[in-house]
């Protein structure tokens, strides 16, 4: 079975899920003039247990803007399900970290968050 050299030499840190399939928009290039974002997140990540896990496990592939779009919709159960799905896709989080992350997301991005 042939495969690209890329596949042998690079390991994606976190695969898929949040904010859609492969929304890995991390870039080392400066923004392009053609870009015309219609939405600016303005998301701040509050301090608390779970923040560092989120930064390490999620933001290597996903933009913070996604959190703003999900804010207010997901209960702790929904956030936990999302994190579990991400773990299945390769997110580097263990079972303990899943619970901490679910608590953090529910507290700061859950339905009752002001």
């Amino acid at each position: 079975m042939a495969s690209s050299g890329w596949a042998r030499t690079r390991k994606p840190a976190l695969l898929l899920g949040l904010a859609a399939c492969g929304a890995c928009t991390t870039t080392t290039r400066p923004p392009e003039p053609a870009a015309a974002p219609a939405f600016e997140a303005g998301v701040a990540l509050p301090e608390g247990p779970g923040r560092e896990i989120l930064v390490a496990a999620c933001l290597s592939c996903h933009e913070l803007a996604a959190l703003a779009l999900f804010k207010g919709f997901y209960t702790r159960e929904s956030w936990r399900a999302l994190v579990l799905t991400m773990q299945e896709h390769g997110a580097p989080v263990d079972d303990t970290e899943i619970e901490v992350l679910a608590d953090y997301l529910a507290q700061h991005f859950g339905p009752t968050t002001p």
Binding site: W6, P12, C21, G22, E32, A36, P37, A65
Partner: protein, 343 residues
């Protein structure tokens, strides 16, 4: 030039003019539907002018999009709301929000417009079936692994669903909504389908994680018959990213069935292959991180969503050149077309 020759010449000119007029009219009825995965807006592009002519607001984290074949409705899966949004194509108002069993990804509609299949990415994975007559979620089909992308075959007989976590491609019979076969061992990304002259399914072209190209599956034998790797560019010309594990993430067969188009996130190109030979016809530079692709029904223009650029590349399918880039929303991904007034 004698009189009859002159008359014939005039008739030919008139016929050509009429044909051009009809083609322009047909094009005018088509809109490109462009989702923006980090936005709340869906954009509608007129391919005659390549301008955004309408917007559908109020859908945070839109994932899949599909239009009713009769042009009456647009369906969009919303990841944040865990719902399928139903939009009146004439007023562009959301007329119903249908709750889904869990967080969705992509969707597909049957050729008769009666059912929308929704891939459920949330573990353990499922497919929701929406009855478009009652606008109800009528069935949840259990499948192994969260479903990322889902397609109804052009003949309407089957559903093809791909899972990344489950490393599985599942094929359902639309008459029974039950599994008929599966292909396992690869994390399945976007797919497209070619047909035989009678309209039945011929080949599946499947992008898989970690491969810069696509796999060709023969429908009848259910076996891999080819694995195409797309061209390389010098490392300094590559877009530096993890590509979320999918360096190629967007693929489509042109409506005329003559070419296959596959995007390269790694190279910021779209590559064109002849069908059925799969000979490389060319590579076209696009914006950064090209993802999904759709076509005008007359196979004259391709539209490629550039996720990082926030634009859509318009490609002339005859000259294989980019005509323009249209600024859209943030992180544009899935796209499609609607034929307005088709009913």
């Amino acid at each position: 030039m004698n009189k009859s020759v002159k008359r014939m010449h005039t008739l030919l000119v008139l016929a050509a003019a009429l044909q051009a007029l009809l083609a322009a009219e047909a094009q005018a009825q088509v809109r490109i539907l462009q989702t923006n995965s980090l936005d709340t807006m869906v954009h509608l592009i007129d391919p005659a002018t390549n301008e955004i002519v309408a917007e559908i607001p109020g859908i945070p984290v839109a994932h899949g999009i599909a239009a009713a074949p009769d042009g009456s409705r647009i369906y969009v899966s919303g990841e944040a709301e865990t719902a399928l949004k139903v939009i009146d194509a004439h007023t562009l108002e959301i007329i119903k929000t249908i709750p889904l069993s869990a967080r969705p990804n992509n969707i597909s509609i049957t050729p008769d417009g009666r059912k929308v299949y929704v891939g459920i990415i949330a573990s353990p994975g499922a497919i929701d079936v929406i009855d478009t007559t009652t606008l109800e979620n009528v069935k949840t089909i259990d499948v192994p692994g969260g479903i990322h992308n889902i397609y109804v075959t052009p003949d309407g007989k089957n559903v093809v669903a791909g899972s990344i976590a489950g490393r599985r491609l599942t094929v359902l019979d639309t008459a029974t909504d039950s599994e008929v076969w599966a292909w396992e061992g690869e994390a399945i990304r976007p797919m497209t389908i070619s047909t035989k002259p009678d309209g039945s399914t011929d080949k599946l072209f499947v992008q898989v994680s970690g491969h810069h190209g696509f796999v060709v599956l023969d429908w009848d034998t259910r076996q891999e018959v080819a694995r195409i790797t797309q061209p390389d560019v010098p490392p300094e010309q590559r877009y530096d990213s993890t590509y979320n594990g999918a360096p190629a993430h967007g693929i489509g067969v042109a409506p005329d069935g003559k070419t296959l188009w596959s995007t390269s996130r790694m190279n910021s190109h779209v590559y064109v292959y002849s069908l059925p030979e799969l000979e490389l016809l060319g590579g076209i530079p696009t914006g950064t991180d090209p993802d999904w692709i759709t076509f005008t029904p007359d196979s004259t223009r391709a539209y490629v969503a550039n996720a990082v650029s926030g634009t859509v590349s318009v490609i002339d399918m005859q000259t294989l050149r980019e005509v323009t880039q249209i600024p859209v929303g943030k992180s544009p991904k899935r796209n499609g077309i609607i034929r307005l007034g088709a009913h």
